[in-house]
């Protein structure tokens, strides 16, 4: 009697785990299924620059939007990484007691702000501020970049901080006793914390890459390549978010939007693999 109950229990828990695994395959399956029409009918023209999905002779080219996504993601990631590592090192090395506690708490609260609220803040506050500084439109590349940074900096700082904290004491003490200055110390600690920091960098990159609400609200939505920081842009996720609600199910437009989603999915899965690869590689360096 007891035995059959246990077997039933094992059955239930394994089914629950299988549901999760099935969900991932379901996501890949449904996104590729829905984008087949676009791939078959539009073909390589999907990568042409013009996106006019509802014209009488529609164009479904995503190249401009893809470049916008890449530009915005790389640029924002770069300065979030840089500033994030500096702040994390400050927290780890110089901040003391109450100051540190307060900063960590602020990070946690800021990381909890919903992205739609940040988008709203970007439209209302940052937008009007940028207009005063000479931007010709309130929603632009710089605005999106700033709000994405506010969204991701807390993750970057706290993840990098955690990996700095894991650097063994002996390494630091050894450095100090050899007479290392702060800058040398930072270099050594950075090398040792590298797996965690690479992971944090990739998390941030992935988050910016897939973020929808902020770019939808503050990036401006113009399908052009930006020439300055004040130009409006339209990344892939913004097109998805704004058009998927009003499209006819099963049409070519619907299908090409799913193709965009499919690209995002593939991109984030590849990023994940890359992250694992780099983390493992850097870990190997530390172990020697």
């Amino acid at each position: 009697m007891k035995g059959s109950l246990t077997i039933f229990f094992i059955f239930v828990v394994s089914v629950a785990a299988m549901i999760v695994a099935a969900a991932l395959f379901g996501i890949v399956f449904f996104l590729s299924l829905e984008s087949v029409t676009a791939i078959r009918e539009v073909g390589l023209k999907l990568f042409s620059p013009d996106w006019y999905p509802v014209w009488s002779e529609p164009d479904f080219g995503i190249r401009t939007m893809l470049l916008n996504t890449l530009l915005l993601t790389f640029w924002t990631s770069l300065w979030v990484w840089f500033i994030g590592i500096i702040c994390a090192f400050y927290l780890h090395r110089f901040a003391k007691g109450k100051e540190k506690e307060f900063m960590l708490r602020i990070l946690e609260y800021v990381s909890s702000i919903p992205s739609v609220v940040l988008g709203f803040f970007g439209v209302v506050v940052v937008g009007s501020m940028l207009l005063k500084f000479g931007a010709w439109t309130a929603q632009n590349f710089l605005n999106a970049s700033i709000m994405l940074a506010v969204l991701t900096l807390p993750f970057m700082i706290s993840l990098a901080y955690q990996s700095f904290e894991k650097v063994p004491r002996e390494v630091i003490e050894g450095c100090v006793s050899l007479g290392a200055k702060d800058s040398h110390l930072m270099y050594v600690e950075l090398r040792h914390a590298l797996p965690g920091i690479v992971n944090a960098m990739m998390v941030v990159f992935n988050r910016i890459f897939g973020e929808t609400m902020i770019v939808l609200m503050v990036a401006g939505g113009a399908n052009i390549l930006p020439r300055s920081f004040f130009d409006p842009v339209r990344p892939l996720t913004a097109a998805l978010g704004s058009e998927i609600g009003e499209v006819e199910v099963g049409s070519l437009h619907y299908s090409s939007l799913f193709f965009i989603g499919f690209l995002l999915l593939i991109g984030s899965l590849l990023l994940n693999l890359l992250t694992n690869y780099f983390v493992r590689k850097t870990e190997r360096w530390i172990k020697g």
């Binding site: 999760v20 991932l24 110089f94 803040f121 609200m217």
Partner: protein
């Protein structure tokens, strides 16, 4: 060097504090307005209150809770207690991968599967199923860490006392209770603040009555903020400000509870 770092760090932190304080303070006054929580929005959302959005968000969270926590908890038990070692590692990396997929992709999946294939349409149930698809890996990702953290000796001790697999599992759940509670709260917070999937699968921007069946579409707080900013003019903006500050206050409350839980565990 120390001072250079200090200047950079202080600038960043002051900016972050300004963001959070501005969001809260610009809207907190409206929360005290009579009827803000109990009235329907009127005349193009420039008057009235946020009642339907609040109820919609609440219903959504309740449904997500009912779907996510049982499945997530059972899945966690399988990964940490029953699965063979290699399989468990595989499942864990699968869950971590799912956790990093952009939320709009879950929205598309929900649209294609729940709304169109299963025929639920734009509805409360599609939205909550879609959110759950996203929330379950999120929950499992953090919950597994807590059940893993239960020391080996405890498990072995219970088994040595003659407990079977179910009893030892219950012991593990009991021992990681506060951690699991943290995971539940964080998951619900995540589901509460996520916008893109609901926007695609279950939200309407304006409704004159509450959803009466689970196949009705809903208004929620995040999608209402989006709708006001994108579609309505300056006149309605106060309502978005109120909702934004309400959402941030709720999230801060959630994280404060988590911090208290964490501190209790440390002591």
């Amino acid at each position: 060097m120390k001072w250079l770092f200090r200047i950079v760090a202080y600038t960043v932190f002051v900016a972050l504090v300004i963001v959070i304080v501005t969001i809260i303070s610009s809207g907190i006054g409206y929360l005290l307005k009579p009827g803000f929580f109990t009235q329907f929005p009127k005349s193009g959302m420039s008057e009235g209150g946020i009642f339907p959005s609040l109820v919609g968000s609440l219903l959504l969270i309740i449904l997500v809770f009912l779907i996510t926590i049982p499945v997530g908890l059972l899945g966690t038990i399988f990964i940490s207690e029953f699965a063979p070692r290699r399989f468990s590692i595989l499942l864990q990396s699968l869950v971590a991968t799912m956790n990093s997929i952009p939320s709009i992709v879950y929205g598309l999946f929900g649209l294609s599967f729940f709304c169109v294939k299963l025929g639920f349409g734009t509805s409360l149930i599609s939205a909550s199923l879609t959110l759950s698809t996203m929330a379950i890996p999120f929950f499992m990702n953090s919950a597994v860490e807590f059940t893993r953290a239960v020391p080996r000796e405890l498990r072995e001790g219970v088994i040595a006392l003659g407990a079977n697999k179910i009893q030892s599992t219950l012991m593990v759940l009991k021992a990681s209770k506060s951690g699991l509670l943290t995971a539940v709260i964080l998951t619900l917070g995540r589901a509460f603040s996520e916008t893109a999937p609901i926007l695609v699968t279950g939200a309407v921007f304006y409704a004159t009555k509450l959803p009466s069946r689970i196949t009705d579409p809903v208004m929620t707080l995040p999608t209402s903020i989006y709708a006001i900013v994108m579609n309505l003019g300056e006149k309605a903006q106060w309502m978005a400000k109120g909702m934004a500050s309400l959402m941030v206050l709720i999230m801060i409350a959630i994280y404060s509870v988590v911090q208290i839980l964490r501190r209790n565990k440390d002591e």
